[in-house]
Amino acid sequence: MTAPAAMPLRIQLAVFTRLLAIQGSWNYETLVGNGIAFAMEPALRLLPEGRGGRPYREALARQSRYFNAHPYLAAVAVGALARAELDGVPAAQIERFRTALPGPLGSVGDRLVWAGWLPVSSFLALLAFGLGAGPWATVLLFLVLYNAGHIALRGWGLWVGWSRGMRVAPALGTPILRQGPQYIARAVSLFGGMAIPLAVARLLRPGRERLLQLSRTSSDPMFSGTVRDLVVPVALVAAVVVAIVLVRLHGRVAGWRIALGALVVLALFSVVA
């Protein structure tokens, strides 16, 4: 049996929708394995004897076993494995192919999405906030930008997996996946560099305004214009020091844990003192 050249639209839509829930039963035993079978199931109904037939049940059993991949690039695996099942590729060959896929799909996805597209989208939203955008503009910018990449990647993955089948490996060497993370890393650096000072300045504006009010009513030099103007520069220099310390610690302590500890101490001091 040979699979149709293009996945029927109805099946495509069903598989794509299920891909969005591919991690629904994520666990430490089979990772995303059951999700692969769940997403692929509508396509497996095209096997001889249809839903419930022997080929269908054998394929479903095979595909629900251990599998690991980045959730977005798992679409490549779902497309390619569904194509292989429908092309009638021998089970042993599918098993070998299934074992070889997780490595590249995991590492490429992590670099491209979690370490690339997500931080870029976040920093662009922070930049918009720093430039004065309101709550809905900031949130919409982030969601639209991030999901343009997210949906495109899942859609491309399903298409390329289905159209290439067992010969999908060269598609993972496409320039977007190979060199994309480098370009995105530069964008993270550029937009992060721009966004952080601007976001800090806007976040500290209420405090500076409070100092401005106090300077009008008090002769205390603590509330003078000089002190007020130094709040943001001092905060930025201190942030650089914190960043250097965290980089030196090399991931041994996460920044949020330090923040949690510092806030507990600050809250106790402020409430008890």
Binding site: S25, W26, N27, P135, T138, L204, A259
Partner: protein
Amino acid sequence: MSLLSALVPLALLGAIIGLDVVSFPQAMWSRPIVGATLGGALVGRPDAGLVAGIVLELLAMDTLPVGASRYPDWGIAGVIGGAIHAAHPSHPSGALAVSILAALATAWAGGWSMYALRRMNGAWHTASMPDLDAGSRDAVMGLQLRGLGADLVRGALVTVLALAVFDTLATVALDRWSLGPTMTNTGIVVIAAGTASAAAWTLTHATARTRWYAFSGVALGVAIMVLQ
């Protein structure tokens, strides 16, 4: 304003946002910048929610949702942080500190609840092994739907518990808060900005020429800040 009056909408928001972290559809509306703004909006002040969301987003930069690693639940944390910050407009000195503290504690507890859910999914999977090996469609669908449903319930429960604990604690702490807003808020923002900067460095330093992009970005950002 007591957050308990908005408990049901906040719990629903927490459930939907908690589901997005891993299970469905990972469209990143579980990022704190989104969750906190929506949490603030449900209390009537999306702008206050956004401020908490920006601080949490900076802190969340160094924990990426990579596969099997255990990471904090920033989605529900955002809802809690945004809602608490929005609910205390008359306490500019400590509202941000208290809301971020509540959000970080929720993120930590939420991370543990995700770990527990994954273990539970594993137990359900082990129990379904004979059916899965037989190629049962019902077993595949059942595991997936049960996992999704359990994650939805997890999100709602963590949100309700966090609100019940931190709404009261926040009110008590803010009544006694003695530090001024400049010192408190500057301290939080410094740690958050430092965390995001370190995360950006860690993510990008292995790529050629990124430090020049970073320096150019900082120069541009500072120039715009001065012009503002």
